[in-house]
């Protein structure tokens, strides 16, 4: 009953506000009239009686305001009024609004952009059922648990049948096969799996079926599952494709099913076309019977209730058992279990957290800047606020109104920021490191927008509350008497200086972090990779193993290709290697032993990166010969096997002795035990990435260790696309069914190898630049406001003989003091903070004095320049005008 009445009244009050106000007015008027009548009856004149009555009644407008506030709906009306009023205020000072919105847009936009990456990489759920149960398993040396490697087929099957902690386990491996028939030959990205992977990941086919356990048995019919993309693009969505056969590396497979485009494993893998049983793969199938070949990535699903620690304990026990039973392959090796998410995104997390903190600091600076603007504005609005308080508005009411204005500003900033972020995210796509692009698409979606909204609200409160409190706290009478400018000056000036100092110290931290990365990146890009990448183009050709089955065919193909490339007009030298440095698939690394050295203790092995190269390779790549000789045409299968080693290998494993003439054993599996004589030592090469120190390497002549394809490198002054066209033309002239892939200029490949470094350097560098701008705007605002407040003082100083230069020094000195204080705090913070990025730095320390010095000079320069404009203005003050001021 009572509730209904209350609600009815409040709705009524909301809808009929003006009539409620009129009633209130009438009610009060009646009361005052009665008081007046009484006074007249007591013998006063009309006018006396009236003023007496008003006095007795009390402050009318204040009482009215209190009455209005008892209607609880008033906040809705107030809000509408505040918004209306706020829009008017923002429109009245377009300069203030523009600077405020822009500053916030920078802060919110940068945060939203980075958050969209965090959302894509760290927060978005994986598209598998119960992803928290998924784990990946790796073989690791007992001594080095971080050196993850794949697991052999035998160990996988043993582990799968004997474990008690996984409800299912599956293996997978990837490589390219050549799909022929039905149009141009093409390379298809093939996933070699054990059939359990589909039930483990709960993958439902679009049509037909996925692989069944029988398909994984030796001797089963060769069947393939195609991706929806391949089915649509290559086979025109042919509904009758299931049951037909396709040729992969010239082996026939029967299509049994189509998987929807949404299915990927791992999640966000760039492109997957075909799934087949690993047993039937033309290349990997035979390797499943070799327990020394660690072939499979292994995924498992934990049984409900089994913890990661339980699983790891059982795998430790199993690893120890394997090490005993299969000591030939598994001695010194154990099995490590890692949660799927951690394994996929683990190495990106720290860098993203650093970026997120940095960009959070940028937002903090933006808020400080807007707070500064608001403080200056609130001070000049002091009189207006004082009058409103005098008229009966409560302090809370005014704070609410000021906060509404701030929220409007934050909202505008947020909208602009989201637009900025959308644009920035599009621009960033190019810079995204390969792993990020693989994990998921980065875009400004629902969760990101929610985050931006949260930022807006937080920002509005952060930058708005203090100025609102200060604006409403000033003494009423002083404010009205002294006029606008003095109000809140004491508290405000301190707060403003504090904000400016804070901004400069944050800017210092961000600039140092950005500076360190930029310097480190410059060092990385300037590093000598050990070969000459300029004007070189690379391309990959791989030969179908069914058609090109013998090593002699491989050699013949490479000789034919190289002689054709050599005859190509406009082409310089060319060579062939497998793999070339900076191959995206990674480098091949094999164990080796030195003939004549004592055998290594069990569990220890020596490894080096392996390349098989054509005789001209070192000359074409301009890798220097240090001792001995290069390969020549004489190093053929009929002559003794030879090898060339890198400087690091020679230094590390042949200390104080000449390696030339010594014998080593190593090779590409399954020929991993070939004895070769060392004939040369060449310079070190960074083969994995520019930022990685070169390791030991061993080279063999392609003619003695041929592979089914390889990568060619061509030196040519022609542009990359005509080089690419010519290479393609020559390859197809030999065999028109051969695809050429991964054509790229060598400098681009070098750049690609440091894409992660480039990404974070670019971002932290940008944050530093934004911080510098914000700090400049911040200190400019503080100094110009304070200079305008000191006009009077400056006038007096000049009247008693101060020179213009003295005034300039006075103002600049004030700015420089703030800047130096901020920088001092900033340096301390930077030293504390930069050790978090120490691991990202290349050869320089986290407290690199050169970077700190350069940043300090730049920041001081910018701060003083920002103060110079108000200082010049102050210098031009006319003493007479200034003294009359106020």
């Amino acid at each position: 009953m009572r509730i209904i009445r209350i609600v009815k009244r409040r709705v009524h009050a909301l809808l009929h506000r003006s009539s409620a106000d009129a009633e209130l007015q009438r009610e009060i008027e009646i009361h005052i009239q009665q008081l007046t009548n009484e006074a007249i009856a007591g013998g006063m004149t009309d006018a006396e009686a009236r003023s007496m009555a008003v006095r007795e009644f009390g402050p009318v407008s204040q009482i009215k305001e209190e009455c209005r506030e008892t209607r609880r709906v008033s906040w809705i009306q107030d809000l509408a009024q505040d918004v209306h009023y706020g829009i008017r205020m923002l429109r009245e000072s377009p300069g203030f609004t523009a600077v405020g919105v822009l500053t916030l847009a920078l802060g919110i936009g940068a945060n939203t952009a980075i958050y969209s990456i965090v959302d894509a990489v760290l927060l978005r759920a994986f598209p598998y059922s119960d992803p928290s149960q998924l784990v990946l398993m790796f073989n690791v040396p007992v001594k080095r648990p971080d050196a993850l490697s794949s697991i052999s087929y035998r160990d996988f099957t043993e582990c799968r049948s004997h474990n008690t902690v996984f409800s299912e386990m599956a293996g997978n491996a990837f490589h390219d096969l050549t799909l022929t028939g039905a149009g141009e030959p093409s390379i298809v990205n093939t996933a070699d799996v054990t059939p359990e992977i589909f039930s483990l990941l709960n993958a439902q086919p679009l049509a037909g079926r996925t692989l069944l356990p029988e398909d994984g048995k030796p001797g089963a019919a060769a069947v393939a599952v195609l991706s929806e993309n391949l089915w649509r693009s290559r086979f025109g969505s042919n509904p009758n494709l299931i049951g037909q056969s396709i040729a992969l590396d010239m082996r026939s497979f029967t299509v049994v099913g189509i998987l929807p485009a949404s299915f990927r494993y791992p999640d966000g893998a760039p492109r997957q076309d075909v799934w087949i049983s690993v047993m039937q793969d033309p290349l990997f199938g035979p390797l499943t019977s070799k327990p020394g070949v660690r072939l499979l990535g292994v995924i498992g699903r934990l049984k409900p209730g089994v913890s990661l620690a339980n699983a790891q304990a059982e795998m430790d026990a199993m690893g120890a058992r394997f090490a005993q039973t299969y000591s030939a392959e598994d001695a010194g090796v154990t099995i490590r279990v890692r949660p799927y998410r951690e394994a996929v995104v683990g190495n990106l997390k720290p860098a993203l957290m650093i970026l997120l903190s940095a960009v959070g600091l940028v937002l903090l600076m933006a808020c400080a800047n807007v707070a500064n603007l608001l403080l200056a504005q609130a001070t000049s609005r002091g009189r207006e606020i004082a009058v409103r308080i005098a008229l009966g508005a409560s302090r809370a009411r005014i704070i609410r109104q000021l906060l509404t204005e701030n929220a409007l500003l934050a909202f505008l900033g947020g909208v602009a920021g989201v637009l900025l972020a959308t644009w920035a995210v599009q621009g960033l796509q190019r810079f995204l490191p390969a792993e990020v692009a693989q994990i998921g698409s980065v875009h400004v979606g629902g969760p990101v927008l929610a985050f931006a909204l949260l930022l807006c609200c937080t920002a509005a409160l952060t930058f708005g509350l203090a100025p609102a409190l200060i604006a409403t706290s000033s003494n009423l009478q002083t404010t009205i008497k002294e006029g606008s400018e003095r109000a809140g000056r004491r508290g405000g000036q301190h707060l403003r200086s504090f904000l400016a100092v804070t901004e400069i110290s944050i800017a210092m931290v961000l600039l140092v972090a950005g500076g360190l990365l930029i310097r480190s990146f410059a060092l990385v890009t300037a590093v000598n990779p050990g070969f000459d990448a300029s004007s070189a183009t690379r391309a990959e050709v791989s030969l179908p193993r069914f058609q090109y089955s013998s090593p002699r065919q491989w050699t013949a193909f490479s000789n034919e290709l190289l002689s054709r490339l050599h005859a190509q007009p406009g082409f310089g030298d060319s060579a062939l290697a497998a793999p070339l440095p900076m191959d995206r698939q990674g480098q091949a690394s094999f164990a080796f032993s030195i003939v004549g050295d004592p055998p290594l203790p069990p569990g220890k092995s020596t490894t080096a990166d392996y390349q098989t190269v054509s005789p001209d390779y070192f000359r074409v790549m301009r890798i220097p010969l240090l001792r001995g000789r290069f390969f020549s045409e004489q190093d053929s299968p009929s002559n003794p096997d030879v090898a060339i080693i890198s400087e690091t290998l020679a230094r590390r494993y042949f200390p104080n002795q000449d390696a030339i003439g010594r014998q080593m054993r190593f090779g590409f599996p399954p020929d991993s035990n070939v004895q070769r004589q060392i004939v040369g030592v060449v310079g070190d090469v960074r083969d994995v990435a520019l930022s990685q120190q070169p390791g030991p390497m061993m080279y063999v002549p392609f003619a003695q260790a041929p592979l089914y394809g390889g990568e060619v490198v061509v030196r040519s002054p022609l542009n990359a696309s005509s080089v690419a066209a010519a290479i393609r033309h020559e390859v197809n002239a030999i065999d028109k069914a051969l695809p050429v892939t991964d054509i790229e200029s060598f400098p681009d490949a070098l750049g690609q190898s440091i894409s992660r470094e480039r990404f974070r350097t670019f971002l932290l560098g940008s944050f530093g630049a934004i911080a510098l701008v914000l700090a400049a705007v911040g200190i400019f605002g503080v100094i110009s406001y304070s200079a305008s407040q000191r006009t009077n003082e400056i006038g007096i100083r000049m009247a008693v003989g101060a020179q213009r230069r003295d005034v300039l020094h006075l103002i600049l000195g004030q700015g420089a003091r703030l800047a130096l204080l901020g920088m001092g705090i900033g340096v301390v913070l930077a030293i504390l903070v930069t050790r978090w990025i120490a691991s990202l730095l290349y050869t320089i320390s986290a407290t690199d004095p050169l970077t700190f010095g350069a940043v300090a000079v730049i920041l001081l320069g910018v701060a003083v320049t920002a103060c110079y404009i108000p200082a010049r203005r102050a210098m031009r003050v006319d003493p007479m005008v200034a003294l009359r001021h106020q």
Binding site: M1, I3, R9, I28, I30, E56, G58, P59, E66
Partner: protein, 109 residues
């Protein structure tokens, strides 16, 4: 301006409820009545009666109608609602408790 303290405000609510419990009254009448009963205590700032009236009305303890009155024109006349009557009883009880407690304290001090 003298603002009613919290104690005074609570007391004012009680006085208003008590006053219109006898018969419905307009604001002027309530003010007069309280003035007579309290002996001039509330004579200054009669306006502060109105926020209290509006608050009580918004809380549903009292309701108001514009009707012809003894002032020679229509006025807003306040009367107690059924819930307001219960509220008055509660407030009287708590007032009794408070005043007897204060009384005890003063006697034993």
């Amino acid at each position: 301006m003298p603002k009613p303290s919290d104690l005074l405000q609570g007391t004012l609510d009680l006085l208003i409820l008590k006053t219109i419990a006898r018969k419905p009254l307009h604001g002027w009448g309530i003010a007069k009545r309280i003035q007579i009963l309290s002996g001039e205590t509330l004579s200054v700032g009669q306006g502060s009666l109105y926020p209290a009236l509006h608050r009580l009305e918004n809380q549903g303890w009292i309701c108001a109608e514009w009707e012809e009155s003894d002032l020679g024109r229509s006025a807003k006349v306040y009367s107690l609602t059924r819930e307001g009557r219960k509220q008055l009883e509660r407030e009287l009880k708590s007032w009794d408790r408070l005043s007897s407690a204060v009384h005890l304290l003063i006697q034993n001090a």
